[in-house]
Symmetry: C2
Subunit: 359 residues, 2 copies
Amino acid sequence: MSQKITIHDIARELNLTSGTVSRALNDNSRISIKTKKLVKEKANELKYQRNKIASSLRSGKSQTIGVIIPSAQMNFFGSVVHGIELMASSIGYSIMLYQTEETTVLEKKAIETFLSARVDGILASVAKETIDFSHYHELQKRHIPLVFFDRTNDEMKVPSVIIDDYKGAFLATEHLIKNGYSRIAHVLGPQHIKSFQDRYRGYEDALKKHTIKPDKKLIYQGDISIESGKAAVDYFFQLSKIPDAVFAAEDYTALGVIKGLKERKIKMPGDFGVIGFANENFGEHITPSLSSVDQQTVQMGKEALGLLIKLIAINEGNIDIGLQEKIVLQPVMHLRESSAGKTTSGKLETFNVLLSKIS
Amino acid sequence: MSQKITIHDIARELNLTSGTVSRALNDNSRISIKTKKLVKEKANELKYQRNKIASSLRSGKSQTIGVIIPSAQMNFFGSVVHGIELMASSIGYSIMLYQTEETTVLEKKAIETFLSARVDGILASVAKETIDFSHYHELQKRHIPLVFFDRTNDEMKVPSVIIDDYKGAFLATEHLIKNGYSRIAHVLGPQHIKSFQDRYRGYEDALKKHTIKPDKKLIYQGDISIESGKAAVDYFFQLSKIPDAVFAAEDYTALGVIKGLKERKIKMPGDFGVIGFANENFGEHITPSLSSVDQQTVQMGKEALGLLIKLIAINEGNIDIGLQEKIVLQPVMHLRESSAGKTTSGKLETFNVLLSKIS
DNA sequence: GTGAAAGCGCTAACAC
DNA sequence: GTGTTAGCGCTTTCAC
């Protein structure tokens, strides 16, 4: 730090006091336009750089928010962070990033770090491993604004932003039904995560709505991986009544399903329909391209930050109302080849083409 | 901020002065072990949270580094940030993230923000748009440690971490040659970016080494997109002498090439070999799976941070040596199906299988 | 090994 | 509309 210019330097040169300079720089209404202009010009001339640290210490606001994610390497979170940072910087907030690597230890460290950095609020996506939420409770006790996104915990009363997993799953399943598939299987994601429970419910309800009786035999427990998708296919094909479509709880699983079906030389779409969830970027590039449910990642980041800013504002007023808001984003279908219409006899295909244009 | 416990509170309860408490908390060697223990216990008891802001103001070190990237949504950068943050937090540094969206305006804002946040150093990947580097020069003038990664500028004397694009391209091209391809085309990336120039050079030199005369007709100017990959195929197939392989400067282009070849029902590998650069995550999932050159993203992040920390240390000693270090990472080949051996007559295939196992 | 005291650069309550 | 003054919570020099 070779930079030494402070508001005092500006004040001295202008025969003012540092208080006035500070006010001028912050556009305080009680300062004359003339003085403001003078001060700002001098500040530029001297290449003054405001010291946010000093200002934070005095004012108690750091204009910084902490973001806790499992890993920036994961597409999904990179994308959410993109949304968060975009909006944050546009309203004058900086963001600090901390990765948990899905561990509770690092999650606690993240909070420790953010607490000592006196962030104005925290945005977090809970680590898979986390069962004990005491560190988050600590934040509540200290009245640090907190918003969860994607990975939430319903027992804690924390505002959150998620997408409507139930609805996404419902629409995906219904889409397969409307395209002529009738024996639709589902590859589950880990059921201790709420999103995957909801996707399962959405799947079942869509079947019921269309008077298709859910069949437990068509449910395979996967673990969010290509391998479990392949294993699911192996399982489905040894059933006496083989399914004609699969709704996979997530895209990598769907990819595994497609790989498994390809190995069996099953015609997709036509003889078999597949749809996934997440809209990972490989989906549109594989063959057949994968239909999927988009999770509105960037939007999620923006909404989460918006909610947090609202909480911070409330907090400043010391209203401490414990706002229990929950924003549920609408999933967006990306229909591609893998789920196009079933070949009942010889018609269709035109339908397929139409569908694939939609996405 | 409902937290009010300061070192003074600890001092009072223990009949010490705040100075002693501060030293104890920072493990100063002149404080007795007994006092340290006492102070730390009391700190825990009172749930004291160190105020990093106050400490930064006084000490002049923020223990924070600023990271400037084009977008967290891009795989590559998410991955580098992953590496940076991982290492940073392990040595007690926090990171602030700012996205430029490839614009110079936001890049300047990023620097402005980091300057006022008094970060101890900055890690940056230059925005595509940036031609004027005055904002970076300003950092040098102020002696703020700066390290570039991936996107550098050779005219500025700034330490940097990049991968060996030349070598990656050389190896990729040579790999195609060794697999029996002889008429190898290249789809260029934007030539105002140094990495892409280097990849072009690497390609040419590999051909020369194997006594293949580079043919300008086999060079197509792309722009890092699926479309330009397809367009390249269109171009190549109207030549009187069609190539039998393509080294694409980047994976999306390679994907376009594969799509174009598929439309033409060209057999890959065998009749045609393709290799890309970047090792994007879709590569291993498309058909044929795409061979590519990995850019060591996580490693890049770690090395960049390591270099920055070194600079910060030097800076503290006021040595200001202007360390002009340049770390060049070694690219790693990921060989998959798309570049497996050429079918000269009827042999091979076994070779392919072997190759595909390597990756 | 500990205390005393000064001050990092800013903001804000209180004057007038 | 501007000046005065008192810190925010910590680190650090200088004592002894």
